[in-house]
Chain length 354, copies 2
Amino acid sequence: MKARRETRPVLVGDVAVGGGAPISVQSMTTTNTGDPAETLAQIARLHHAGCEIVRVAIPRADVLAGFETICQESPIPVIADIHFDHRLAIEAAKRGAAKLRINPGNIGSSERVDAVIEAAGEAGIPIRIGVNAGSMADEYRDMDWPLAEKLTASAVAFCEHFESRGFSDIVVSAKASSVNATIDAYRALADQVPYPLHIGVTEAGTALSGTVKSAVGLGTLLVGGIGDTLRVSLTADPVEEVRVGWEILGSLDIRRRSPELVSCPTCGRCEVDLIGIAKEVEERLRERRTPIKVAVMGCIVNGPGEAREADIGIAGGKGIGLLFAKGQPLRKVPESEIVEALMSEIDRLESAAD
Amino acid sequence: MKARRETRPVLVGDVAVGGGAPISVQSMTTTNTGDPAETLAQIARLHHAGCEIVRVAIPRADVLAGFETICQESPIPVIADIHFDHRLAIEAAKRGAAKLRINPGNIGSSERVDAVIEAAGEAGIPIRIGVNAGSMADEYRDMDWPLAEKLTASAVAFCEHFESRGFSDIVVSAKASSVNATIDAYRALADQVPYPLHIGVTEAGTALSGTVKSAVGLGTLLVGGIGDTLRVSLTADPVEEVRVGWEILGSLDIRRRSPELVSCPTCGRCEVDLIGIAKEVEERLRERRTPIKVAVMGCIVNGPGEAREADIGIAGGKGIGLLFAKGQPLRKVPESEIVEALMSEIDRLESAAD
């Protein structure tokens, strides 16, 4: 992995973004922002899953009262997402938004963008310049350039406009639904602006294809040292977005929220219900916070050896499991007791770590 | 994306690997190889999902008769996966394997490895030198080097040994369960050997974490032009491995098997059951082979614009969907008819393409 790119720091509520801060995981609510009870319930679920910053849509003025309540009661900073109408952005800044996300390309005239900049400055909050392949300003959209170059040029031009107004409390994004275009745009942005980058692939798709597109796109960027906060977009429960976000960070050993689980793909050698065991262990590890490595292996011949680096693990045999720690066998347990036995060994490790 | 690395070509049955051939998708059976009916049924499911080469485990001599039947009847080339016992590899070569996969580090003496090389030469089949973090030869495992360097050095040394025996019909892999180590190992291998690379992250984990780790690792390598055939390892039905493999290739526009689906993550603006609609459309597109782009968008304001490049799509409204093609609205349909209306427009596009 390349060393992480240096950026200016930005504060979103009490969460630092860029400037060396941990790469934060975001999501966006799918509820009606005008219904603060429902939206706060979803935010609570997102927070529990590890969401550190949440974005809500402000599609109309009649949701602003709800938005204000959400900002007051949310356990994590709330970003207002505004398209088209600059007055909604100005109102959101007054009512407690921790950050505004606009795409200056669809806000209209430069005067309207300036009014949003002024409102953010007065509220002391940052703005994300959120350029998106689907909502670029007309002058870029109609240009005969590769998509990534249009996204980058558009984002850089907006940064320069903001700077010319004395505003540099900026986070930048340039998302496309094409992974290649997204990677190219962020690589170029990383060279051209000093601001933290919010990375994501837009309209990535369903749980399966959206997870793959996001992991390929964000993973490639992160390996290259690019990215300060991330959002995975899925056509699914947003809790899944948060889980995938953490999985991406964990896959590269950047940040972990739960123990690491390695499990083998099973093969003709496996004689226990490994898929069921691994799923149950994954589910139960999700609520744990100790940074250990757990292995669930199908076969007693390769298992302990292949998972030598795991703190604790099981290897399946014929209707039994062999518990092992750091590659050393502990004891055999019947298949039906594998998960419980593994979890109590994990309890023991966790108390020892306290 | 970088241009794809040039390699020697290798033939696995009738599937070319390397030398500019399309990047092929592999999987591995989880059934008992000694039961050819069960294993062939799983291979048929894998083949239907797009698996192009399949690997089966040969853990003991008593599965060899079954293996022979599988090789005769499989619709796709069959690779024999052998650990520890070189005699199993020699027998597999005689009984119809399209390729052998061994990790020379656990086959034992150099004479035993040579006997396998000789058998492959006689059968006219390639060998994958499948180095794996969990089963490295002792002399490498105990070295105080970074894991990736041990994997690479071990794989390169085996390649040199094979070459010294006049055998160069080689595919190489060097997998770890660490994504970072996997990326580093393959990048180094790509510089050091002229052979096609089989890429994969080993013991990647469950459907969720294994998908993310594989997508991050393989995606990063593919963006760098590295990889000639791939296998996603999941603790799940191997059909999922094939689907994720294709999703990874599709995400980078390298190869596609089905139409591309883009769908938005829904937000406070969405007034239809977008998750349900997108899932059903995804399921039904899986059986289609026309290379079109389909969009399922939550909101009628942004939808057609954001999915301007889609051949066909829907944007949700209040209990209705707006059908559009290339960003132009076609007609409105009630929510309950959205999927059917979209699929019949796709039928129309497909007949037009015929």
